[in-house]
């Protein structure tokens, strides 16, 4: 077949190739660096550009050398481009789409004229790690130097305008997950499916087939058969343009599914699916790794010039995308792949000037460059110089063992084959087959794959299938000259040798010092060359030298895909519609969204103090406790005593952890002989439930107690203020609310606003006469609205958290975790009166017993002498210039008292009432404040409360 350049699209486009993936009926246009080009559907960005004669796609990181195609695959380091607002797109992988705006990214000011390429000249001074050796002095100049260094950062650009797109996730449970859709992967998948397994077959490229896709007619025939068989097999789900990115504990496997332009909905669902990428999280019964082999570059001078490429790149360009990679080629071949590349090139009309056979000692010494840096010729080992614009190398393979290493395996170097092989230290549910595992004819590899697929489906031992053989291969890593090892990091073999000589002479130190293998391809192309060069420099063998650690992800994953949809549960009370309708300012309190206030918290305070207010306290934790042993549990959890609580009564309690630190507080009431309800703080609800369960299940499984969380089974409303009795009385006919019948710290059950099954407690955080009512949650909104409606003439109003905080501070009630911290034990919080050391046991008891003899700060009420100054919370209390002797934990201006009030910690010798302490304000003013007799600033005797 003679090759001609296709007239319509592109100057290097070949006529139709038998294995091509182009849709010649679907031309498309796209732009590159601001200019418009034509290509076909099926082209990658790079094949489309090459077809148009563009062969330089980026500039290297440090020296700004021009870069072209190397591997023509996802890994290709020089083909990273910007697409719209997406940085670092792999141009040799990503398919072109109509209208795509592609730009080079590591250039300044332009790809053709790149000012930073001047670095090439000074490059000899900028060896690896140069920055460690300079800019130390003068110290004050370092920040300026740093700004210069930063400008050399590689990569594309992000945009602040990029919307957080639609990224999806799903879970999967395949019996067998196959990584790699080459012949081995497909054969393994088919055998596993035949054995009855549900199989997930994942292929990184857009199509199944692996290397068969760019192979000869016989290989394409096998490919067609395999593809048809996979399509027909029940139980195989195929994901293409998808990559297995990680294998984690217990075969938890991450698969990144990328958009596939040929599939309905991009492969994500019905047409029009908005999904950009999807992370599939698979719990696989077995993982079969059939990742094939990655072709390894050869290190010699000029090996990074555009025009020097791997044999697989040349074959892919010709056979998949019908692109002529050059006009005159030299091929360095150490294996069949190189020979096949030479044949392919000849077939399509590339003049093959020489096939240099490395198996018989042939070598390439340097690639010569034209003025623009691209390839103009090669110098061979025998000194011959040949003109060419294409140099193809086929010097061997690297096994991409990354997934196996994540599973605990260590690659082992096989000198005969000149590559690392899987080490065989795999967990029982991970299998390997195909080229990554060994050599053989296509038939032999597929037979092995079938055996492995069948074994994996059964959960059998990997070793039961006969192993693949290992063929000899010449060891070619670095030639006679120095060249590029890590293309994306711009690290040369000279850098590596220098680093080794400086003492960075283990592969891990060398990696960190030179940054070799730390770039976007993570060493898949580079590691083995780096290891070989280090081995030569130190005289240690390659096996002794070892590789760096392979880590997830196998291929980079977008943050969008990892993040997925935001799943942040939020919780709302039944009264939320009312709050929203009435302009409540939302307060985020953990998962709960609560009304902070409705516009004027001081006015809300006044309403409560003078009339009556209602507040939604639904998030208060509520645990239904039943069983004969509840008093035992209460005695264990709380620091105070519970044995004698009468039916109809409630009591306040404080819980400490085993280290004596205050954990939570709340009231617990006894509703019936064997039924109790414990309330907890809103944020402590889950913790206390778990705390109770842990005691019951681990220490006292014999106790008969059932704990049921009922926090949101009830809408909780506190009705507070002098008119609260009147208001509640209007809605509740079946409970005598008089002070005599229903006293302070009592609980009653009854019907409110027509809703039966409510209970009400006479308690209150605000210090006013108040009733905390708990109504079946579905009726919460009804009761809330009814309270407001029927109390209109009493001046009832809703109040929010802020008003409640002001009032509780007026009353001196502490809030756990605000007025206590991670080390505050009960006595420090002023709870001496509550702690009952004569109880046999309770959580944290020993610590509290010992605390009495210790030095600890005490929580006290404080008032600045100047009542107009409100010291911000966290203001420190100081003695002398800087000695900290306490701090303000809560502070507000009290609208009721018309002055500032506080709670705070002070050293014990300052805790006596009347002591004047110095508060240091954030603005550095020092103000005097008086330690008060009580925590409460308002109605310390609780007259109003009991009223």
């Amino acid at each position: 077949m003679t090759a001609t350049v296709h007239p319509g699209v592109g100057t290097r486009r070949l006529s139709e190739q038998p294995g091509e993936v182009l849709d010649r009926r679907a031309p498309l246009s796209f732009s590159w660096d601001g200019r418009s080009y034509q290509a076909y559907r099926g082209d990658t960005i790079v094949s489309g550009l090459l077809a148009n004669g563009v062969s330089v796609f980026s500039r290297s990181f440090k020296y700004h050398r021009p870069r072209g195609v190397l591997s023509a695959s996802f890994l290709d380091p020089g083909c990273t481009v910007q697409v719209g607002d997406e940085p670092n797109v792999r141009g040799a992988h990503r398919r072109l789409e109509p209208g795509m705006a592609v730009a080079p990214q590591n250039v300044w000011p332009s790809l053709r004229y790149d000012a930073k390429s001047a670095n090439q000249l000074v490059g000899r001074f900028l060896g690896a790690g140069f920055y460690y050796k300079t800019f130390m002095k003068p110290e004050r100049l370092w920040p300026a130097y740093e700004q210069v260094l930063k400008r050399f950062a590689t990569g594309g650009r992000v945009s602040p305008e990029t919307p957080h797109g639609f990224y999806d996730k799903r879970y999967a449970h395949p019996d067998v997950l196959v990584a790699g859709g080459g012949p081995a992967g497909m054969a393994a998948a088919l055998a596993a499916a035949e054995a009855g397994a549900e199989v997930l077959l994942v292929e990184e490229e857009y199509d199944l087939g692996g290397h068969l896709r760019w192979g000869d007619g016989a290989e394409r025939a096998v490919l067609a058969e395999l593809v048809a068989a996979v399509a027909a097999a029940p139980g195989i789900e195929v994901l293409t343009n998808s990559v297995v990115t990680g294998r984690y504990d217990d075969n938890w496997i991450a698969v990144l599914q990328r958009r596939h332009p040929d599939r309905v909905g991009g492969g994500f669902g019905p047409a029009g699916s908005p999904v950009i990428e999807r992370l599939v999280k698979a719990r696989a019964g077995a993982l079969v790794v059939a990742a094939g082999l990655v072709e390894r570059p050869y290190v010699f001078e000029g090996n990074d010039r555009p025009g020097v490429m791997l044999s697989s790149a040349a074959r892919r360009l010709v056979n998949l995308w019908a692109v002529k990679p050059g006009e005159r080629a030299v091929v360095l071949s150490a294996n069949a792949a190189g020979d096949a590349a030479a044949a392919d090139l000849e077939r399509v009309g590339v003049e093959v000037a020489r096939v240099v056979d490395a198996r018989s000692g042939g070598d390439v010494v340097r690639a010569l460059g034209a003025r623009n840096g691209t390839l103009s010729g090669v110098e061979l080992g025998d000194g011959t110089k040949l003109d060419c614009d294409l140099l193809v190398t086929a010097v061997g393979w690297t096994a991409p063992t990354s997934l196996l290493n994540m599973a605990g395996d260590k690659p082992v170097y096989e000198p005969r084959a000149a590559r690392f092989l899987p080490g065989g230290r795999l967990p029982g549910n991970v299998y390997v087959t195909g080229g990554i595992a060994g050599d053989g004819t296509l038939e032999e590899l597929m037979a092995h794959a079938r055996a492995i697929g069948e074994t994996a489906a059964r959960g059998g031992e990997a070793g039961s299938a006969p192993a693949l053989r290992i063929d000899p291969h010449p060891a070619l890593f670095k030639g006679a000259t120095h060249g590029m090892v890590d293309y994306s990091e711009d690290v040369s073999s000279k850098d590596l040798v220098a680093a080794a000589a400086e003492g960075y002479d283990s592969i891990e130190l060398m990696k960190r010092y030179t940054t070799v293998t730390m770039g976007p391809s993570q060493g898949k192309l580079e590691t083995v060359n780096a290891v070989a060069i280090l081995s030569e420099a130190t005289g240690r063998s390659i096996a002794e030298t070892g590789t760096t650690v392979w880590r997830p992800p196998y291929a980079p994953i977008s943050l969008g895909a990892l993040g997925g949809r935001i799943l942040e549960p939020v919780r709302h009370s039944p009264m939320q519609p009312w709050h929203e309708a009435h302009g409540a300012r939302p307060l985020v309190a953990g998962q709960w969204i609560r009304p902070d206030h409705y516009g004027d918290p001081d006015a809300e305070v006044a309403t409560v103090r003078n009339k009556v207010g209602i507040i939604d306290v639904t998030p208060l934790g509520k645990l239904d406790l039943r069983g004969p042993d509840v008093p035992k549990l209460l005695n264990l959890l709380y620091v105070n005593k519970w044995s004698k609580l009468a039916v109809g009564s409630v009591r306040y309690g404080v819980m400490c952890a085993e280290d004596g630190v205050v954990l939570d507080d709340g009231v617990t009431g006894r509703l019936a002989e064997d039924r109790w309800v414990m309330s907890t703080t809103s944020s402590g609800a889950a913790t206390v439930w778990e705390w109770a369960e842990s005691w019951l299940q681990t220490e006292h499984p014999d106790w008969q107690v059932h704990v049921t969380p009922v926090t949101t089974a009830y809408a909780s409303i506190n009705i507070a203020g002098p008119a609260s009795r009147e208001l509640l009385g209007r809605l509740c006919g079946d409970v005598d609310l008089s002070g005599e019948a229903f006293g302070y710290m009592q609980v009653r059950a009854g019907t409110i606003a027509g809703v039966p099954g409510c209970w009400m407690w006479r308690i209150g955080f605000t210090g006013e006469l108040s009733y905390e009512i708990h109504v079946p949650a579905s009726y919460g909104l009804h009761v809330w609205e009814t309270l407001l409606d029927s109390g209109a003439d009493l001046g009832v109003g809703a109040f929010g958290i802020e008003a409640q905080r002001i009032m509780r501070l007026e009353k001196g009630h502490f809030i756990v975790a605000q007025d206590t911290d991670g080390l505050t034990k009960a006595l420090g919080a002023g709870l001496d009166w509550l702690v009952k050391a004569d109880k046999d046991d309770f959580a944290g008891k020993p610590e509290l017993a010992w605390q009495a003899g210790e030095h600890y700060q005490r929580l006290v009420g404080l008032q600045p002498l100047d009542g107009d100054i409100v010291p911000p919370e966290a203001s420190q209390i100081v003695a002398g210039e800087t000695r900290i002797v306490g701090r303000i934990t809560s502070s507000r201006r009290s609208p009721t008292l018309g002055r500032s009030i506080c709670l705070g910690f002070v050293e014990p010798d300052l805790a006596a009432a009347g002591t004047i302490v110095t508060v240091l304000l954030p603005d550095r003013r020092r103000i005097p404040a008086r330690v008060m007799e009580h925590h409460a600033h308002y109605d310390p005797e609780g007259v109003r409360l009991r009223g």
Partner: protein
């Protein structure tokens, strides 16, 4: 080892060449080789001090022992390579805006030392004081930030609480709108905080210590510690036995395994801590941004990658394999903070092993076994403390007296109930 002696081993004139820009040019022109950063040695049969762990703590301790106290016969042994533990895998955030006065003073001394370390070591450690922001998403965390700021200011640290307006100016990519799930209400801003090239610190200390006669032994694992009459007498390694009266445990995540060798119990649990980097993009983020509520922090290196950290793994483990859920949560939370970077890609994740203590403070000083000292419990935050820990541990070893600065961090505090209050403000640690 073909060239073990001769070229690869030892400085030409016994002194390291000074690094300088001029030196770079000279080496560039004449293609001379730089001398080794540190030398290789045969293991001797005895040393005055054996430091276990060639992380920043072990190396800095050796360096200051030699530098400040003239101690010479020091061996730093490590079962891997220099800086291969947490010191080589941390996110390299340095700051001093802690909560307790003792903590603030201690870390501030470290920042001081770091500020001059490049010059002192003649090795550029690239300390980048780009500013450090700890976001507050609730009034509770705003209160803790204020608390820290107040204590910090009293100790003379540049630290204050700033509002969303100012935050936006420092970090334009941050979503400071009110209607996010976790609105940004404010932040603790600490201008001298920043990042450092962690490897450079490790190598710089190693080079400096080596130049002062310290022997650094890589690939040397301690298998046992010998005692007689309650005193340390020697160390058993996989390369042979060493007699020594002093062993210093600087092994971070392996701290209890080493202490177990002499029967010293320590309240340390080893939790993996993971980190990750993205592919590089052009620099768009200057400051270090931390969110305790969202368990994540991020900075951008001069190379352009974002470096992410988070909270420790939820359960104790010695596994450094890492997990997918770490990256998922990380990305989800980062995108809540900076929704515009969803197209950046995560390049690599890794883990270290953190020695967590009950009060988020280290354990430093003597133990019940004479001659067995510890400098552990550095958890998720100990890289920044390397210099000061080295300086104070060296003083303790050389003088036998516990410096006042580290007295609060003694091992006995747990049995005596004197925990340090850093837990009070424990957010995402680093």
């Amino acid at each position: 080892m073909a060239r073990a002696n001769g070229k690869l081993n030892g400085f030409a004139g016994g002194k390291p060449a000074r690094y300088s820009a001029l030196g770079l040019v000279r080496h560039g022109v004449v293609h001379g080789e730089w001398p080794r950063v540190w030398r290789q040695h045969e293991l001797k049969s005895s040393y005055d001090v054996v430091i276990v762990g060639a992380g920043v703590h072990g190396l800095a301790t050796a360096y200051y022992l030699a530098l400040n106290h003239g101690v010479r016969r020091i061996a730093v042994v490590d079962r891997g390579y220099v800086g291969g533990g947490n010191s080589g895998r941390n996110t390299a955030i340095v700051r001093s805006n802690y909560l307790t006065p003792e903590g603030v003073r201690f870390y501030d001394r470290s920042v001081d030392l770091y500020e001059h370390l490049s010059a002192d070591l003649n090795f550029n450690v690239m300390f980048s004081q780009r500013g450090h922001l700890t976001l507050a998403h609730s009034d509770a965390s705003l209160r803790t930030m204020a608390w820290r700021a107040e204590v910090n200011k009293l100790e003379g640290i540049d630290s204050s609480v700033i509002g969303p307006e100012e935050i936006r100016k420092i970090v334009p990519y941050l979503d400071t709108s009110e209607h996010t799930r976790y609105p940004v209400l404010g932040a603790l801003y600490h201008p001298p905080g920043g990042t450092i090239r962690h490897d450079a610190v490790n190598w710089g200390y190693a080079r400096g210590a080596d130049a002062r006669g310290v022997e650094i032994h890589q690939q040397t694992e301690v298998l046992g510690i010998e005692t007689a009459g309650g005193k340390v007498t020697g160390v058993r390694t996989d390369r042979g036995h060493i007699s020594t009266p002093v062993v210093v445990n600087c092994t971070a995540g392996h701290a209890t395994l080493l202490s177990d060798m002499v029967g010293v119990r320590m309240p340390v649990i080893t939790h993996p801590l993971q980190a990750a980097v993205t592919e590089p993009v052009k620099v768009f983020l200057d400051a270090v941004v931390v969110s305790g509520t969202l368990h994540v922090y991020v900075s951008q290196t001069d190379r352009g990658e974002l470096v992410f950290g988070a909270s420790t793994d939820p359960y104790a483990s010695y596994s450094m394999r890492g997990s997918l859920e770490f990256t998922e949560e990380l990305a989800g939370h980062v995108l809540e903070l900076m929704p515009a970077i969803s197209k950046m890609r995560l390049l690599r994740q890794w883990a270290g092993l953190c020695d967590m203590t009950p009060d988020f403070s280290p354990i430093m000083g003597v133990t019940p076994v004479e001659g067995f000292l510890v400098d552990v419990g550095w958890g998720t935050y100990g890289f920044k403390a390397g210099p000061v820990a080295g300086e104070t541990m060296a003083e303790l070893i050389a003088t036998g007296r516990t410096p006042e600065m580290i007295a609060p961090f003694d091992l006995a505090r747990f049995a005596e109930g004197r925990l340090v209050g850093e837990k009070g403000a424990a957010s995402v640690g680093h």
